[in-house]
Amino acid sequence: MIVRILGEGQLHVDDSASHELNELDAKLEAAVERNDESGFKPALDELLARVRAIGRPAEPGALEPSELILPGQDATMADVRKLLAGDGVIPG
């Protein structure tokens, strides 16, 4: 599957990593829901580090949409919240 890290581009990640990534993602989501600023950053860092470790950069000219999209490295909890709130945040 293809995973995008916002601000960095797309990566190919083996489907078998789905389960592991979902667990890390659940931690991130829980931190956002609890409004837990101190848990948010480590959870995001861990998820991003894992995706970078197992992912291979996609072809720059590939036009496939991503299965999963991750917030960028410097995203704050407020950024993620705005992103999840949807309408109007995503430009273009």
């Binding site: 659940a26 989501e29 720059p60 496939e64 949409p65 991503s66 991750l70 949807g86 430009p91």
Partner: protein, 282 residues
């Protein structure tokens, strides 16, 4: 559902909405391509804006460094003539300047990071825009409107996602450069007001003025002593006054000569008109 999936669905929903509006996808492809080119222009302008901001901060850091060096020198000069109060004043100001500098250094690094990110975003978008153009021409040449719809879906969603990502990056960079511009403007104002003491040798530099005054005092004392020696203690008070005034006027002339040569040229006649008696006396 996790964060990653939700975000990707939001991006996709955005693209689907645009796709639904297309009546003849083959025509809309051109419109979409136009939008992509515009975004590409925008991201390139973004890179240039961030670079301009970064250079401005760099310039300010250099100016503050000059101020800091100068205040350091002044503190040493003041200590050398036994004026600890002046030295303390200079060092206090230096600490203020240094704190501004460390702040600016942080901003500088942040702007550098933004510049790199936007440059990367611009390159990624360029690659996708090129790929999209090829695909669009193939589709336009090969398929009917109905067929084109299904053929273009994925490519459109893919590039729409990239455009959303780049758009977010531009927004963030714009926010940061706006903040930086406000800060840089505030620092420029501080410098202009003399509060940060960047006016090297400028009129508002009271520490330097005090040091100069003391230096001038030394010179006058030395000259007095020399003249007393020449005249065998016979110096009249009026002559001493005239000499002291002459020294002040010469110092003022020298100071303005740095900024305005014409003022300096205007000085000698004034001096000679003041001193015919001194000339007669010699």
């Amino acid at each position: 559902m996790g964060v990653m999936k939700r975000v990707s669905m939001l991006f996709r929903a955005k693209a689907n909405k645009a796709l639904d509006r297309m009546e003849d996808p083959r025509e809309t492809l051109d419109y979409s391509y136009q939008t992509q080119l515009e975004l590409l222009q925008k991201v390139r302008r973004g890179v240039a804006d961030v670079a301009t901001s970064r250079k401005r901060v760099e310039l300010q850091i250099n100016q503050l460094q000059l101020s800091s060096d100068k205040l350091d020198r002044q503190a040493r000069d003041a200590l050398a003539v036994g004026r600890e109060d002046l030295a303390r004043d200079a060092l206090t100001r230096k600490a203020g300047v240094q704190s501004q500098m460390s702040d600016l250094n942080t901003q500088y690094t942040a702007l550098q990071g933004e510049e790199e990110k936007l440059t990367g975003a611009s390159q990624r978008l360029q690659a996708k825009v090129d790929a999209f153009r090829t695909k669009k021409e193939t589709i336009k040449a090969t398929y009917t409107a109905a067929e084109a719809q299904t053929r273009i879906n994925e490519a459109f969603t893919g590039i729409s996602e990239e455009m959303g990502d780049v758009g977010l990056a531009i927004q963030r960079a714009e926010d940061k450069t706006e903040q930086m511009k406000a800060r840089a403007g505030a620092i420029d104002e501080l410098m202009a007001s003399g509060a940060l003491d960047d006016m090297v040798g400028g009129p508002r530099d009271d520490i330097q003025a005090e040091l100069d005054r003391m230096g001038a005092g030394h010179d006058v004392d030395a000259e007095l002593a020399r003249m007393k020696g020449e005249l065998g203690q016979g110096g009249a008070p009026r002559q001493i006054e005239g000499t002291a005034n002459g020294t002040d006027a010469a110092a003022a002339g020298a100071a303005s000569a740095a900024s305005d040569g014409q003022t300096a040229q205007a000085m000698p006649p004034v001096q000679s008109a003041d001193q015919p008696q001194a000339g007669d006396g010699t």
